[in-house]
Amino acid sequence: MVFSWLHLAIILFLVGGLLFAGGPLILSYLVAPRARGGDMGMPYECGMRPYGGAWTNFGINYYVYALLFLAFDVDVLYLFPVASVYRVTEGWLPFLEMFIFLVVLALAIVYFWAKGVFTWPRKIS
């Protein structure tokens, strides 16, 4: 594998990034005084001792938000290759295709909206 200056630049860039991120962490670990003991380990809850762990089951409507995020995350995935070649295409056809692709995805939001996922009504159980 032919070694070229580009590879060196990439390695340097990588090391620089690591140093830039890790440097302050290591520095502060070395230089800062450390407080220990008492209720330092206790989870902070407005000055009170919390009751029970936070490991409880979640509401179902959060799952719907996750689905929506996933749909649009994958959507962006498909847009990357389009974006890279979009400059060299001409005419309205590519734009129209992309528009149809996005509209189909937007239907998901319309559906959830109609089902009332975005409204948080008062639950008087």
Partner: protein, 181 residues
């Protein structure tokens, strides 16, 4: 300094010295710390309103670096005890102090936090007379409530305690502002 405060009596609450303890580096560190003290919003009573007034446009504590009022003790290094500490609130004050990372400083603002103030009377059953019986206090700001200028002066005193030098001009004792003191 008051009699041994509660936190000092707890053997396991210690502030360990840093691994790398080089004098000049620590001095630079101290200047940076004193110029960016992040107070914790710990307003208890009337002094809390004066603490808010200090954060607002007219007295503008932002000029001295202490503008960011953090709600959580994890991200703050200055606890301004502004108001009366009742016996029901005492364990919470101690717990919040212990949950603050080092280096941590405490300003006891107002007569209630210093010595119980106007609520100290014979047969008083529900109040801790002075926060320094609970946690070590660095600067006392007297007043009931102290004027915002008083709290700013307290902050300068704390910065002087951290770095050993006062950066801001002294308040004009009599007459107009006098050059450097």
């Amino acid at each position: 300094m008051a009699a041994q405060n509660l936190v000092a009596q707890k053997p396991d609450v210690i502030v360990a010295d840093p691994l790398l303890n080089i004098g000049p580096a620590q001095q630079i560190m101290d200047i940076c710390r004193s110029m960016s003290l992040w107070p914790m919003t710990f307003g208890l009573a009337c002094c809390a309103i004066e603490m808010m007034a200090v954060g607002m446009a007219r007295w503008d504590i932002a000029r001295f670096g202490a503008e960011v009022f953090r709600p959580s003790p994890r991200q703050s290094d200055l606890m301004i005890v502004a108001g009366t500490v009742s016996k029901k609130m005492a364990p919470a004050v101690v717990r919040l102090y212990e949950q603050m990372p080092a280096p941590r400083y405490v300003i006891a603002m107002g007569n209630c936090a210093i010595s119980g103030g106007p609520f100290k009377f014979k047969g008083q059953y529900g109040m801790v007379e002075g926060v320094d019986t609970l946690i070590p206090v660095d600067v006392y700001v007297p007043g009931c409530p102290p004027r915002p200028e008083g709290l700013l002066e307290g902050l300068f005193k704390l910065q002087e305690k951290i770095t050993g030098k006062r950066f801001w001009p002294n308040p004009p004792l009599n007459g107009p502002y006098e050059e450097g003191m």
